[in-house]
């Protein structure tokens, strides 16, 4: 992790350009295993040089989707286009994609060197070129001194790097990563995430990663597709997914959030245009400054992230903000953050998170205190789905 800290987030958003041609296109893909539908009529575009994440709980179809791109599974319906060409029926050994497996799948009877050279040997490259490429890859993943080791003589982190080097050695047009960091401990995982981004940026490849770890997806991706039961619920940048989830499912899946079901009472705007919306959540009236597709009387959900909720012992002077009153029920001290669980008069729990900016041992708010929770009009969200 030396020189990486340049401008990591580049200006890159081909998906906003209507004339951009997708690099990979899943077109109305359906995959059934017997009676079970793993992927259901899914359409998705991925652009060149994009770091794209498929995020979802286990069994949502994300791995199946990736395996179809690698060629290990054939779609039941629909087609997959790579650079505009239909790749249905092309066997995995003739596809310009390479995959890094969740189990790493290193060949145990070959040394690190031979593992990395394996793909290059299949292409019948000259010996000298293979040796040069292997060396380059070893250097990229900083394993030069381990070239002659067998996989079982390496630690988990080192094996992960060998697997990465092996899948990158052929310079695939698309690198597929199946839960690549799942077996690493937290510190190492975070470090490797930044390295992956760095490598992807340096080599200028398209990366498609499958993960169930939302933090991982948020860190590395240009865009994330959140999947549930074989369909894509939302495709957007990490910031959009977090700040503007399009449904209760996405809001709940990514990060921590307070969600209240309610009914729209008034809207000050036309459909979709920005304006103030008021919602009655079983006796608590909340207002949101946001465009939404709801009209008066619609059943919607109101959501607000805990870190956007302020906590104070006194009623806020500004009466235009949303405010609720309750008792501190529980405090979760996380070091950098403290999470307050506040119980309202009707037993509903609202979470508020506060950064512990000063080293206060004696916190002013403690268990059993009556407090006010308040948040500005633009902090909350209206979820119609």
């Amino acid at each position: 992790m030396a020189k990486t800290l340049g401008p990591v987030k580049r200006k890159f958003s081909p998906w906003t350009d209507p004339s951009a041609v997708p690099f990979i296109r899943f077109e109305n893909i359906t995959k059934r295993f017997g009676d079970f539908t793993a992927v259901d009529n899914l359409t998705l575009d991925i652009y060149e040089r994009e770091f794209f994440s498929l995020l979802g709980p286990s069994g949502c179809g994300k791995t199946t989707l990736m395996r179809m791109l690698a060629g290990f599974e054939e779609p039941t319906e629909g087609r997959i286009l790579l650079q505009g060409k239909d790749i249905s029926g092309v066997p995995p050994y003739r596809r310009p994609t390479n995959m890094m497996f969740q189990s790493y799948a290193l060949f145990p009877h070959m040394t690190v060197e031979k593992n990395i050279a394996f793909g290059l040997q299949q292409d019948k490259l000259p010996k000298g070129e293979i040796a040069a490429r292997v060396e380059e890859m070893l250097k990229l993943v900083k394993l030069e001194q381990f070239a002659k080791r067998k996989p079982n003589q390496l630690s988990g982190g080192q094996r992960q790097r060998v697997a990465l080097a092996r899948s990158l050695a052929k310079r695939p047009q698309v690198l597929l990563l199946d839960e690549p960091l799942g077996a690493l401990d937290k510190k190492l995982r975070e470090e490797t995430q930044f390295e992956l981004m760095d490598i992807q940026h340096t080599l200028g490849l398209t990366f498609l990663i499958v993960t169930h770890d939302q933090e991982e997806a948020m860190t590395v991706s240009d865009r994330i597709a959140v999947m549930d039961k074989g369909v894509i619920v939302q495709v957007a940048t990490p910031a959009e997914i977090y700040e503007a989830p399009n449904s209760r499912y996405v809001a709940d899946f990514i990060g921590d959030i307070n969600i209240f079901e309610g009914t729209v009472t008034t809207t000050e705007s036309a459909l979709g245009a920005p304006g103030k919306v008021t919602i009655d959540c079983d006796g608590i009236a909340v207002a949101v400054e946001q465009g939404c597709q709801a009209v008066s009387g619609d059943k919607v959900a109101f959501a607000v992230r805990p870190e956007k909720v302020r906590i104070s012992p006194d009623q806020p002077a500004d009466t235009s903000v949303n405010a609720v009153h309750g008792e501190v029920w529980d405090i979760g001290y996380l070091g950098d953050f403290s999470v307050f669980l506040v119980k309202l008069a009707d037993d509903r729990i609202v979470r508020a998170a506060q950064a512990n900016v000063s080293r206060l041992v004696d916190r002013p708010i403690t268990f059993g205190d009556m407090v006010w929770l308040h948040w500005p009009l633009d902090a909350g969200l209206v979820l119609t789905r």
Partner: protein, 273 residues
């Protein structure tokens, strides 16, 4: 727990029951006397006469060839059967196929031998060396299939997928990835097949013909004329070969295990970097 005198007695009796006959056989192979049950002093005489007994040596040579050829064919077929059973989990008649693989294991040898004999007679094949090989192949491949199948069940399929993904076609993947990794099981299957072929008497006697007398058949027919110390000598050599084989096999597995532990120790010691 303290071992009682009773335990020690039972253990001694058990081992005696297992090994005294073999010890007697080995000891009397070094007997100078012609009589099998009277000790006449130490001698290697019978090993010499055994060596110059052409009938016995021919039979030994036939047995060795039958063993190697039938074990090899049986290993190839058994490995293929195991691959089919493990890899293609659903195909019409799978249950029947797997049942038919296991059936010869429990089938009385007399029946296997007899049915083979009837088959060869019906087709009009002259019985001899090759009919014995065919018969031995049919029953040894079942054992190989079982040994290889149990290895394949724990085989990580993603290794093969990784090879395919890196551009290696399926057949080449089998020979460069799958086969080297399951090879110890294949070798174990071959050894088992060879041993089974080596000591088979019943099926051999049904399917053999002129000029293809195997060692067990030879020994059995000679014993009917009276046991000579020569037989003891050749049996001692057989026991010796089998024992050496078992010892080598167990030492090499122990070594492999030790090496694996050292490797893991090395990897852990390195730590995650």
């Amino acid at each position: 727990m303290k071992s009682s005198r009773f335990d020690a007695t039972v253990l001694t009796l058990g081992f005696a029951f297992l090994y005294i006959p073999i010890i007697i056989l080995v000891v009397y192979s070094f007997n100078a006397s012609r009589l099998v049950t009277v000790w006449g002093g130490f001698s290697l005489h019978w090993y010499q006469t055994m060596w110059s007994n052409e009938g016995l040596m021919d039979a030994a040579w036939v047995t060795a060839r039958v063993g190697v050829i039938s074990a090899t064919i049986g290993t190839v077929l058994g490995t293929l059967a195991a691959l089919t059973l493990v890899r293609f989990s659903r195909f019409p008649g799978r249950m029947l196929f797997s049942g038919m693989i296991y059936a010869p294991l429990v089938m009385p040898e007399v029946i296997t031998g007899l049915s083979m004999l009837l088959l060869f007679v019906a087709v009009g094949v002259d019985r001899g060396f090759w009919t014995v090989i065919i018969a031995h192949t049919t029953f040894t491949m079942c054992y190989v299939a079982i040994v290889v199948q149990s290895r394949l069940l724990t085989f990580d399929r993603s290794l093969e997928e990784a090879a395919l993904d890196l551009g290696c076609p399926p057949v080449k993947t089998f020979f460069t990835i799958t086969l080297p990794l399951i090879f110890p099981a294949v070798v174990a299957g071959w050894m088992l097949a060879f041993t089974l072929s080596l000591d088979d008497l019943v099926i051999s006697s049904f399917t053999t013909g002129p000029g293809a007398t195997t060692l067990p058949i030879k020994i059995y027919s000679q014993v009917r004329l009276g046991v000579t110390p020569e037989i003891n000598a050749i049996c001692t050599i057989l026991i010796g070969l089998v024992t050496i084989g078992v010892i080598i096999a167990s030492i090499s597995t122990k070594r492999a295990e030790l090496r694996r532990q050292q490797d893991e120790h090395l990897a852990v010691g390195r730590g995650a970097t």
